[in-house]
């Protein structure tokens, strides 16, 4: 398995979407330092998607980000899926492979959504044992992301950040801190997002996600169809102060603008990172 400390920062990147393939390979080549590709979109026999992924890989470091690992499910691990992810990772040689700390279905069904875990000791031990199995199958350390959630369960033994910390430490995996998800969940569940950041072990965090959400009045929905909002930028500043300048990227899955619009948004992430680092060294 790879080193136990997180991968050195790749800098500022984007989630790669087909609409930006040509720009990233052509007139905007090198405009980002790295790309995050959605694993499942490339679990294909061949054709255009894999052709483009390989061309992009020749120009950029790539990270594979999955949505169907279902690490928290009580179903058995999907061994076929794991073999396919391993084969894709062997082909693409990503800097790392990530997925979400959630479950996506039981009894063989895939709901294609990131369902929340109850933060219990049983769930914790269940997930830890499955991470060990996945890390063994993939032959690499897993990076797990905190998800946005709209419900919490009445039976919980700990907070979400305690759950994440225990998972990372007991399973010896790394964390992808989605700053937007922390913010969305903090509003939906009424917790202090800064307490969340303080509860996450800094040495385990490998990557930041930034994204937009939708304000529904009394709650927020994680939609990835809007620019990053001011509250999330502020929380990102705090995250950089706490965790340092890590690999940072913006996810946009719907209402996808021109690449230049996302590049401008990424410039804002760069500026905030610089200012947060300055604030940290001044403190």
């Amino acid at each position: 398995m790879s080193q136990s400390s997180p991968h050195p920062s790749l800098g500022f990147g984007l989630g790669v979407r087909p609409t930006h393939y040509d720009a990233l390979l052509g007139e905007r080549r090198g405009s980002v330092s790295w790309l995050e590709a959605l694993t499942e979109n490339y679990l294909l026999p061949g054709g255009k998607p894999l052709h483009y992924l390989e061309r992009l890989r020749a120009d950029y470091p790539i990270v594979l980000h999955g949505v169907s690992l279902s690490i928290g499910s009580t179903d058995p691990l999907n061994e076929t899926y794991l073999r396919e992810v391993k084969a894709l990772a062997d082909r693409v040689e990503p800097a790392w492979v990530s997925d979400h700390l959630c479950w996506t279905g039981v009894d063989g069904v895939n709901l294609h959504d990131l369902m929340p875990m109850p933060f219990t000791e049983t769930a914790l031990r269940h997930v830890v044992s499955r991470i060990a199995a996945v890390q063994e199958r993939l032959g690499r350390r897993l990076v797990l992301e905190n998800v946005s959630s709209y419900v919490s369960f009445t039976r919980c033994d700990m907070t979400e950040w305690e759950f994440l910390r225990e998972i990372a430490e007991r399973a010896d995996c790394h964390l992808l801190l989605d700053v937007n998800n922390v913010y969305v969940s903090s509003v939906n569940h009424g917790f202090d997002p800064l307490a969340y950041l303080r509860g996450i072990p800094a040495e385990r965090v490998q990557q930041f996600h930034l994204a937009g959400h939708r304000n529904m009045g009394n709650y927020l929905i994680d939609t990835h169809d809007e620019p990053v909002c001011e509250s999330v930028w502020r929380l990102f500043h705090a995250a950089v102060e706490r965790f340092g300048a890590l690999s940072t990227m913006i996810e946009r899955d719907d209402n996808i603008p021109e690449l230049d619009v996302l590049l401008a948004e990424l410039d804002r992430a760069r500026d905030i990172t610089t200012s947060a680092q300055r604030a940290k060294s001044a403190a």
Binding site: E40, H112, N218
Partner: protein
């Protein structure tokens, strides 16, 4: 600490949650925290609504011409029925619509072009991201010694598919792909065969005459050039058959459908 972790309770919680998302069964509600502003039922509804929305969008993205032909409203109704009948079992949402032609056959027996359009769209998509293989060049044919020809067999690109259509679904597909108004949907007096394959990265299709259908059936089954000639005898004079056979092979090679000669 027991060696075997008892996850029965966790499994039951996930099953209840899934039943709510898929079928609206509310047993999970008591296990969920609510707040005065956002009660538990509303919180759970976010998941069940997102589930239907996401899967409907996935179907619309893999079957966009079917959606265009049916109209958004009727397509959404069809999607609702499909989502209830055929929950996804795939890691990738790309494959979620695979059983749509079956549902259309059952639900619209008097509009057979709908099921065929779905079959056609699905097959074209399968060629789009189907397996890669290096096509052989025309030089490969030229280099073959005359005495070798009778026993030669040819390997076809993995994306090659032959579909017999009883309606004008491929023509409807073509019009809708170009954002044109589709022609009137019709059932044909006899089935028309079509070929779908990928040439490099470009998905291609064309109609087939009965002689080429027979030729492809023999050759894709591992038949020799001699068997190809035999198959063509039903359509062409014996004298013209070798030229016809060589012509077909040349066309398949030029169209990048042949990936091996042995």
């Amino acid at each position: 600490m027991s060696a075997q972790l008892d996850t029965t309770e966790l499994a039951e919680l996930q099953r209840d949650f899934q039943r709510l998302v898929m079928h609206g069964h509310e047993r999970i509600v008591t296990a969920v925290e609510g707040s005065p502003e956002v009660p538990a039922t509303l919180r759970l509804a976010i998941y069940s609504e997102a589930y239907r929305l996401r899967l409907t969008e996935a179907l619309a993205s893999t079957l966009p011409r079917l959606q265009a032909l049916l109209g958004k409203e009727q397509f959404a109704e069809l999607a609702r029925e499909y989502i209830d009948l055929s929950p996804s079992r795939y890691p990738s949402i790309r494959w979620f619509g695979d059983r749509m032609p079956g549902l259309l056959c059952k639900s619209f027996p008097d509009q057979p072009w709908l099921a065929e359009l779905a079959t056609w769209e699905w097959s074209v998509a399968t060629a789009f991201d189907g397996a890669d293989a290096e096509p052989v060049g025309i030089d490969a044919l030229a280099a073959i010694a005359p005495e070798q020809w009778p026993t030669l067999t040819f390997q076809f690109h993995p994306t090659v598919q032959v579909l017999a259509m009883r309606t004008n679904a491929p023509v409807i597909f073509k019009a809708l792909s170009a954002d044109d108004s589709p022609p009137e949907c019709v059932e044909l007096s006899e089935a028309q065969s079509w070929l779908i394959w990928r040439e490099g990265l470009k998905t291609q299709y064309r109609s087939l005459g009965p002689d080429e259908v027979a030729a492809l059936a023999v050759m894709r089954d591992g038949g020799s050039f001699e068997m190809l000639c035999d198959a063509l005898c039903g359509w062409h004079d014996a004298d013209a058959v070798p030229v016809q056979a060589a012509g077909l092979l040349k066309r398949w090679v030029v169209e990048q459908m042949i990936v091996g000669v042995s």
